[in-house]
Structures are given as C-alpha cells and as structure tokens.
Symmetry: D2
Subunit: 328 residues, 4 copies
C-alpha cells in the first residue's frame, strides 16, 4: 500500500493514525507530496479506512493476483460434509498409503467411531526416491471408496499426474494436490476440469501469496472450491521434518478461506502430532489431517509419523474439549 | 542414534519395531553387522527402550551438548511468581519501549487487572538502524521497577551489553537476552554472573539445539535458571515479520523446559497476536508475552504490533477459557 | 559415514587422521566399541581410504539414492555439441518467451556470432499468475527449431505437462524440466520415455541430494542423460530474485556431473548477470544460460533480467578470457 | 521505488522504458494518477534517470539506512596494505585458532612466500558449545603480532566482547567482528571507538541491507572504515556448512564497497575451498580469507576445513592466473 498525503497534511499525525491501525509505515524520499509505504507484514486494513483518514489524498495497493479465491465461499461442501467458517472442526484420518481392502475397511470403521468424517489414504504416492513404493493405484481407490461409503465418510486422495485425473475423480470426493505439485500449473489446470473441490497442500517453499495464486489456477479453470492445507515448509532446523507455519493458517482463516492443517507431515514426529493438532485448532484451522495406522511398522510409507487409532482417539477427544472450551 | 544389530538378528523385524516406536531408520551400507541410522526428526525414544529390542547389540547416540539444561528444574521461580510445568499460563505484557514513569505505572495497573503477572518493557533497545530510538536507559528501569512493585508484578527487561549487567540486575527479576544476542557468548557468560534467572529469546536462525546450547552457557556460568522464549525465525515469506515456530515450543515443552511464546514480534501483525497466542497455549507453552500500548501511534518502537489494553483483556480471557477447556 | 574402531585403537589418533582427511567427526556415546559419526558437510573421502586407517574396524555409509546418476557419462552429447568435463564452456542464450519467427531467427543469428551453441526459448511458460502470458506453444517450437537449425545450434526448451512431451521432443534437442517441476515425479517418468537428454533445473527448495534423486527418476525411466542446471534457491533476502548456490555447482562438478548455471533467473537483476556468470565458470560450471533480448521492454516475460545482445557479447568475451586465464 | 505518472503519460510506454532499464514494475491499483512499484530485486538505476523518462511526474525511494557506508572510501588502508577497488586481490590466511608462538611464526613465514599479506588467527573464539576450546587469549595476540611483523603482514583477529577491545586494538591492524556478533549493536558501538578499521562478517541470517546497517553503526560511532566479509548464510541443505552467497558479494562490489569472501567457513569442506575462492575472485571480491594449517588433525578448531600450506599455494597461484586472465 502506498499513501500519498495532500498538501496540507501533517505527516506526523497521519503516521500516528496509520500506526494506530496496525500499519508499519516508512516515509519515502523524493520531491512533491509526502508518500508512505506500508510493509507487507502489517495488519489488514481496508483501503477505505485509510482513504478516509485526514490528510490522505491517494491510496494505491497491489492488485490481488487471486480474485476468485478472494471471493470463494467460506464453507466448502464435500459430499455430505462441510468444511469452513462456523463448521465443526473437520477431522481427516487414515494411512499414508493404502495397503489392502480389508485393512482400510477395518481402519475406517474405527475412525468413524472417533468422529472422523474424511477418510484419507494414498493410491498414488510422490516419493523422493524412484525405488520407493509408489502406491497400489486403481485398486487402492476402490478399496478406499468402499471403506468410506460404508462409514458415511468423504474420501480424500492425492493425484500426481494428469493421466490419473478421471480415475481419481471417479472415486474421490475431494482431490488432493500434494505440496510437490502446488507449482505444477499444467496439472492444476487439468485437474480443475474434473469439477471437484480440491485439497491444495502448500508447496514447501511457497509464500502465502503463491499458494493462493495456485488456488486461483484451480478456480479459474473450473474447480468449484479450494480447501487449503498447511503441511510445513522447508527450514534449516533438522529437529522436525518440516516447519509448520501456523501464521499462514491464521492469515487464511482470518480471510475466511477454508484451511486445514496436517501436523503429521509437518513434524514427521509422532510425539508432536497431538500438540500441533491442538495448536492448529486454537489458531483457527477448520480441520486437521492426521496419519493413522494400526501397525506403523508395517506401513508402506511414513510409518514413524503415524499415530495408532487409540492415540488418535485421545487426540480428537482433546480437540473436542479444546473447541468447546474456546467457545465457552 | 546408531543401532548395530547382533549376528542373529532379523533386520526387517528390528526395523519394524523401530518404526513402531516412531523412529525414521535407514540401513547403512558396509561389511560386518547391520547398522541403522535414526533421523533427527524422529520421536524421542529412551536409549534403554531401543537397547532392549530383540536383535539389537549396540546403541550409540550423540552426547548432549547441554547437560545442565537437560537437568534444570521444570519450574522457574521469578520473584513471587512461577513459570513452567503445571503452573498457570504466565502472562507477560507491557510496551516495547518504556516512555515515562507515569505512562508505565498507569499501564501496569491496567495489566494487573487482566491477570498479567510479568511486566515487560524496554530500557535498552536493539535497533537495526543506529539512528532509531535506543531506549531511555536507567530512568526507564526505575520507572518500570516502581510500576511492577506497585502491582505485585515481576519485571522482565532486556540487556544489550556487559556494561549494563549490574544496573539491569538491580532492577529486573528476569533478565532478557534478545534474539540478536543469543549467539553472543561473551555476553551470555557475563550476564550469567548476575545469578538471576534469564529469559532467553531464540536467535533468528538458531536451531533448537543451538538455542539450548546458549542456555548451557548461561547455566554453566552461574545463571540459576533459563526460560526459553520463541519469537519467530527468519523465513522467505514477507507476509509476517518472522515465522513463529511452534514445533520448537512443543519440543521444549515435551522435554519439560520452561518455554514462553512472543506472538507480537513473531507476526509483527496486531491482527494475528490473538490467534497465535491461543496456538501457543494449546501447543503447551508455559507463558505468552504480548506487547501492549494504550496509544500505539505514540509508541517509541514497534507500535504497529502492539495491542490496546482492552484488546489484551479479551485475548487473555480467551486464553483462560482455552486453558480451562483443555483441562476439562 | 559411521566409523567403528577396533578394540586396540587409540581414538584420539584415529580422530586426528580423520580430520587430516577433511572429515568433521563426532564421537558417539554408548557401550562397546568407540564410534565416530562423520558430518555431511565434510570433504568427500573414498570409503576405502577410511577403512584402511589404523584402528578402524568397520565403516558404513548411507547408500546412494541415485546410483544411475553416479555412473552417468561425464560428457553429454546434444545434437552436434557436447557439455561436460573437459569441454569448452557451453553457452546457452535466447529470450524467456519466444515472440515470433522473425524475431527468434534474427536473434539466433546474432547469438551464433558470439559463440552461442545452444538456443534457449520458451514455448510453454510456467507463470505464477494464471492471468500472465503462458507461451505461444507449438508455433513457437517451430520458429525456434528453424532458427536453431539455420545457425547450427541445439535447441533447449521447457515442457510443463505430460501431454506436451511428444510435441516438444519432436523439436527440442535437450528438454528442459523447470524448477517448479523438479519434484513432479509423474512428469519426470513420462518425459524420460522420450529418450532425449534432459536439462533439469533445481527445485527452489531442493537439496543437492533431492536434485540428484530427481535425475535418478529420469535415468531410471529411460532418459539417456541429465544436465543439471542451478538457477537459485529461495532465501530470506529480497535483494535478489533467488539465491544462486554455487557451492552446489562445485559439488556436482567435483563429482563429474554435467552442470550449467542460469544467473539470469537466479539474480533477476541484469546488472548481476555478468559477475555471476563469471563466478559460475570459475567455480567449474560446464555452461551458462543467459536470457537475451534485443528490446527487453517488449519481452513477453522476464524482460528486466534479460541482457541486450551486445551486452551478452561482452559477457561471453569475458568468460572466454577467464577460461583461458584459468587454464594458463 | 514508487513512480507516479503525469496526467498525459502513456502507461504502457513508460512501463516498457522502465523494463528496458532493468526494472521489475507492477502497476498499483487506485484512483488518481497511475503509479508503478519497482521490486527490490531490480537492477540499480539512478533516480535521476527514471525521473527524466517521458511521462514520469514523481519518483520516490526508500531513504538509505546507511548513508556513511554509502559514502565510505572504495579502498581501505590496513597498515601498509590496501583492500578494495582497483587493488590486487588481498589474500588472508592463517589458522582458525592460534596454538603457539613457534607454530604461528613458522606458518606465517610460509604464507608470506605465497603472497599472503594478511595474517588471520583466533585468540578469542566464539564456540557453539561452552565446553569447546575458547582460544588462548592475550598470549595468542602477542604471538600473532610477532609473526605478522616479522613477515610484513597486517594482523586480523576477532574480538568477542567489549572488555577485549583495548587489548585486541593494541595488536590487530584490522579488527574482526564475527557473524554471531553482527547484530550485537552494543559491541559494534564500543569497538568503533577503537578507531581501527573493522572486518565485518555477515550474520548468518542477515540481509544485505542489515549487514550494511551494521556497518553504519561502526562508522557512526568512530570506525574509520569497514571491510565486509561474506562467510555463508543459513540454509536447508546440509551438504555444506553454510551457503555462500556470491550475489551479495556482487552487489557490494558493484556499489564500490570493500568486500572479502571466506570460503572456508562457508563450505566447511576443504575440497570446495579452491573452487569457491575462484568464484569469489571472478564475481569481484577484493580479497579471500582461507583457513590454513600444516597439521589439521592437531588444529584446536575447524581442522576439517583448513587447507595445507602447499594446497594454499596452489589455490593462490590459480587465483593469480584467474585475475591475470580476467584482466587480459
């Protein structure tokens, strides 16, 4: 935001008023009218409010690069369930990779009992090594769909390439774009054509603006809605797998955008999943996604970060209490 | 952690058992016994537990670089107040820079009414520009001490150089080392000699291990206790002033270390202070520090991120409810 | 690397010998034999050398996650030209986006005169905003191919989605995978099937290991060769567009991998292109890629970072002199 | 930079002209005159040039936060030697920690033979662990001074606390402020009072602007000159100890600021010291600082990254040839 003062303004007074509104301002150097530059890490203040301050002549701002995202509905419907402002916290759970029909059906039945409404599981897996297990593909989709349907759950699963779109769209209620593909614009355009709501994970080095820009690709090319999912960004500290950025979640929630947190991938550490899930709900996330497995040692991927079903039950009970307390 | 198997072990079975405990393991290549390397972003598992697994011959680990920190008490006493495991959330509030005796006394009286037990304020300010206001120095210490004493509060204030130690130690109950000085080992050693508890902010690019190592300098050289304070680290995203790392808070709290969160400096955005304070309490922080000013436009530094006293009151009421809910 | 000593070893002596070889070592804590852990930022020393040191019983290392990359040829043939160890520095130049047949043909003729052997230009453009120009597509490929053929140049161009593979493979001599797609494993597998050498840009938050792992996907699935291209990674400093990492280039060149540097995208600043190109050649890069345009103000993308043809001529003359001097 | 157009301007034409000058511009949204914002990663263009473009009414810029640095001399005199624009590359070498009088005298004699004019060595060492060797202190200063004097060299050594100022200033020709103290403003002010030129290492998470701001503290408080030294910043990739940022060096050199590169601490890898030193010279650095030890295994700190004297000799011969070639 750039603020140009009129010729009779008292710059110090205007500056104080801007700071009172939570704006970091810097006076620019030059001839002519006094101009202030507002820094990007300022509180969000409507342009009309600034324009109306005594002494202000002109206010200009950067145009939004994601107008459709700015205007999307605050609540997303996924099958029979809803995610977003004013809705109960949406719980997503399930294994990283789906292993067998029997396995996912038994697990889903347990999860339903804990209040999980969204079954997550991988059929196509993005793996850093080409030699790692890449997912069971189509059969896994069928197994999951059956498990979800039996338990009244919506199904969320990731798609990695354009060629998988129609297949995944046939089974998934919410199509996940993983963090490694957030910048994959060809995929975003293509997937949007499936006309399904999208679960868009943040890229590991994406700014909030770039993340919303990826959402714009989806909405512009036909997706009905985007749910944003924070799963940790890259950092210099090896004590967690990624660095969970809850400020970004607070920003999106503050804008009314549907936003979910995945503490499992963020931390990579089972012992931090509970505390980070609590923080996510407290900061305003509309949902949490938690990897769950009844025998992590046998999981086909990411076993160390999966919690046991009984651990999940305790975590979700705590989240329920937290939500109740915070509304009291 | 490096795990060497015995000659009769079944490596796959041992690996599954390790994953069941939340450890990310990688088999190393070489002759002789099978060895597994455990990654740093694994859950914390006691060495005895791993040693006792069938098939395990030898377990070695990196020695702690901060043995005194590892063994410090889980509760720190600061004047009449306590911070740490099992204590009520400690609320720290006050202005970035102290402005006048009258001002800080009036503000402190209000803060006491909201349940704030720790008065914070700056007498010596680290500023990126040498031309910025550098603090009122000794008079500010006296003003704050008076305000704190009148209201039964403990005083926390920052010290920037060795030469200020005795002066600050005379007035402060808890001495703050700012993030820019976390790596200033000469200062750490010197300040420790004041025998006062230290409030140690995390360096803006410090790992959790380095932060705890700075704490070790303090305890080794005479400080009775260290309270850690997370205030955001450096990141590539300009949408917040710094990036609040609540995973680090969860790690420290999980180790029983006293840890506080400063959402004001982390976000730099007044509109995010409330949500991030909530997340801090939910993740397990033992306290929150919130910059507060009754006329931010007149603040001598960091006005845009300060909340008004009445905003603080609402935030703290919400934190009380959250704590109550989470214990229900 | 983990080093286990034998029962008669003198740990201090072994440690000194390891340091003499450039290894950062840490003694691990545990019962049984003494073990040293070697840090990842150590000099590369063959396992046999360490194994042969007096007192060493066992040496284990992490298995390479990219064995095919490790063994690929040190020189890549692209049409009539070569890139790699012992070859003259390969010069890549051309516009960010191709604009018209006439334009690219005139430009190519100039570039040939300066010693440029690789024509680069975009037909399909990855853009952060869905509203930005996305490239002229197939016609642009034809224009570029004609321009390259007329001037005896090889053509390098980027492909964004699997559906473009056959089209791009028909025209390009070297297929570029952009930084936003380095982690797009579905695309890597598919493109590899075109059996053309690949120009693989580093992801903006990818480690060197992950970058080589992406190369492994390509070689495993059929690509004959991979040329790595460093184009800057994400950083906290807004003074350049990205942060050029020449250490990574030194590492790859030291391993005999063909590696090229793109200073234009790294810096985003025309005034830094020359100095950074010089540094790239000095550190051991086998080529440099420089965006060039005769009227940057009319460029369809990235004009501000493009150099003029006459500026390119000066830069390349300087690189020739530098290469000559460094071999003198 | 903010550019306001006059009422008759053609915005598209002005934008093209700005891009032609290497500026990244964005049109701001608002009522009244058209305004362009120029991004920070643009080429440096004098304000007068922009002001003179047809259609431009007003140009404002951020005020420099380091006016004294902007105006300091382009060449710094240190004893009998000079560093800066137009001078031969300054070679700095010596051990990380000084060990004995005899040792440093023997080493210095060798280094002189290779063309090293600046002897570096540590008497006071900043160590991450309080249990690591902290330097020999005052005796080490005397040993180094003697060694430097015998060989006609200038002495560079680090100071960690205010209390060491007078002692270090008595012996050092150039006083080093280490990267961990770049933000230690109390120390900067105090050390400046010694009236000696300062060798200012970049903080591990400091922007170029903040680094220059630290230089401003020094010049404002009495230091006669500042030599900047890049030694790597923090990154997510563990393959080097730090990430050498040669773009920052190009920026400072382009501004005429004296700037030196320390590839030893940046990489931490002996095998990369030579290539990175070459890149430093090629990008425009006025000097390089290389840790050198005749028996790295016996070094009291940082042995793995030290090169042997005979390796240094080869590296410096290569740098001489590179400089000659690049001027040819």
């Amino acid at each position: 935001m750039i603020i140009t003062l009129n010729s009779t303004a008292n710059p110090s007074e205007v500056k104080r008023a801007l700071i009172d509104h939570g704006l970091w301002v810097e006076e620019l150097v030059g001839q002519g009218r006094v101009q202030f530059r507002v820094e990007s890490h300022s509180a969000q203040v409507p342009i009309e409010v600034v324009q109306a301050l005594p002494g202000v002549e002109l206010v200009t701002v950067r145009a939004s690069t994601h107008p459709r995202v700015d205007q999307q509905a605050k609540v997303v419907e996924v099958g029979a369930h809803k995610i977003g402002v004013g809705q109960p916290t949406a719980y997503f759970a399930g294994p990283c990779s789906v292993e067998s029909e029997d396995h996912v059906r038994r697990l889903a039945a347990k999860l339903r009992g804990y209040g999980v409404k969204f079954l997550r599981g991988g059929a196509f897996k993005p793996r850093t090594s080409p030699y790692a297990f890449q997912g069971h593909g189509e059969p896994a989709l069928k197994w999951m769909k059956k498990a979800a349907a039996e338990n009244g759950m919506a199904l969320v699963t990731e798609l990695m390439g354009s060629e998988e779109r129609d297949l995944v769209a046939e089974f998934a209620d919410l199509i996940q774009i993983g963090s490694r593909n957030m910048h994959n614009y060809a995929l975003l355009k293509h997937v949007a054509g499936a006309k399904k709501p999208i679960f868009l994970k943040r890229g590991m080095a994406a700014t909030v603006e770039e993340w919303m820009g990826a959402g714009e690709y989806l909405l512009l090319h036909g997706a009905p809605a985007v749910v944003f999912c924070e799963r940790g960004i890259r950092s210099f500290d090896p004590s967690t797998r990624n660095l969970l950025d809850l400020s970004a979640v607070a920003i999106l929630a503050g804008l009314g955008q549907p936003v979910v947190v995945d503490p499992s991938h963020a931390a990579g550490r089972r012992d931090l999943v509970g505390p980070l899930a609590r923080a996510a709900v407290a900061v305003g996330a509309h949902g949490v996604m938690i990897e769950t497995h009844d025998a992590p040692g046998h999981a086909l991927s990411d076993g160390p970060q999966a919690v046991l079903p009984e651990q999940l039950e305790q975590i979700l009970k705590g989240l329920d209490a937290l939500s109740a307390g915070s509304k009291a």
